[in-house]
Symmetry: C2
Subunit: 252 residues, 2 copies
């Protein structure tokens, strides 16, 4: 049986893609992914003779099904995702689809090739905001009830977690981020630093460091990652820093 | 002024280190790190003519101070950490030390080169356990009061976060993980899957998938990462999977 492997490309630049990911792509006969991600690795695919299947954003399940079919038909297949494919990516979906097949028709599970996750890339752009315990929450309520997302925000706020928000805002969904701000303000000071990184590690990368009071006034979209500091996070000379210790902040 | 850059090497194998990290190391005159991490990149350092400063685990602050001194003295310097240097790594400490210097004596901040984080590497070994909102908590109480760590465990449990534990257990600290188990059991079923990955992506890598009821009976040490599933996580054919949706589990 041929193998199917899910690959995290990292945040965007080919400089952030691991050699393991590159080799897996080079060895594949079929490369499947959202067209934007396929473009990130254009130089690896051009004139390679590989079959490349790029589809639009909302066709995730179809895309993964197609990939599993290709592998089941005997072709070495990779599915590519940006960031780490194991975080809100394609890893789970592909693995579920593989395991749903009768054993005799199952492609071999080539595993997940871990990549640099978007949250780590965004943090590196802001300074060092993620040095202590953190929570990662997606504000997209397409697959998760908003009640549950809200509860998680509350728990993250109450537990003084550094809090990273994926999918913070879309054209249709603009109110949720305001609710996050209100919940966080119940537990944290209005001047808590909040970093917003858009298109981390890509050409159009932007970063803003704001405060819990004001951050929702900044440009935030589906390519943004928002990192809300904990009670110890501070900003110095434009860098956002969360100290590792709760006791040693002043006596380095 | 020379530049100081903090680099995440990824989980262990040189195959998981990004080209950006490799280039930064190649361009450095001085490479500073915990000796175990220095060993991971031996082949990049041998006969390179670089000054290599390796120190023991407990000398973190001294090590970072030394690195900042070298950069301030005019040498291009990199500090290497395993995983992502921005997660419980050296990024924050080095940045803090740079910014504490008077401006005229400050080396240039070369930034953090993000790496594949240990939690992403461990997840890839287990299957796809991290596909939904998650919390990352270190159980080390050297720099954080145990009360706060316990509170965070409680919040993560109550919010049904997939929960990743760094530094889960050491020779001296064996009871905390039992307390985590007890807190989690108040909110989650005893058969919730728990994955334990030790030395992810290194030669001696091991993985175990257990349950919330039983996982503390398994071998867990300071090289282990523990991932506790959420209420939807399941195990099939030895793989741990957290579905992305709360509604679509049954109808892929």
């Amino acid at each position: 049986m041929a193998k199917i492997t899910v690959i995290g490309l990292g945040p965007g630049s080919i400089l952030d893609m691991t050699p393991r990911a590159r080799t897996a792509i080079e060895q594949a006969e079929v490369v499947v992914g959202y067209t934007t991600y396929i473009k990130l690795i254009e130089e690896l695919l051009a004139d390679s003779g590989k079959q490349v299947i790029g589809t639009g954003m909302m066709q995730e399940i179809d895309r993964c099904r197609l990939a599993v079919e290709e592998a089941a038909a005997g072709k070495e297949t990779v599915v590519v995702s940006s960031g780490d494919a194991g975080v809100y990516g394609m890893a789970g979906l592909v693995l579920e689809l593989v395991l749903k097949r009768p054993e005799k028709d199952r492609p071999q599970w080539g595993g997940v090739v871990a990549g640099v996750s978007a949250v780590n890339a965004a943090a590196s752009v802001l300074g060092a905001p993620l040095m202590h315990d953190f929570a990662v929450i997606s504000l997209s309520n397409l697959l998760t009830p908003w009640e549950l997302i809200r509860k998680r925000i509350q728990m993250a706020a109450e537990g003084d977690f550094v809090t990273a928000l994926y999918n913070p805002k879309s054209k249709k969904r603009v109110e949720n981020i305001e609710e996050v701000r209100e919940i966080m303000l119940k537990f944290r000071s209005p001047d808590t630093p909040v970093g917003i990184v858009t298109a981390a590690s890509r050409e159009k990368q932007t970063k803003v460091i704001s405060t819990l009071q004001d951050f929702t006034k900044e440009e935030i979209n589906m390519f943004s990652l928002v990192i809300i500091g904990n009670s110890q996070t501070y900003v110095q000379d434009g860098w956002m820093i969360t100290p590792r210790g709760y006791e040693n902040k002043e006596n380095l």
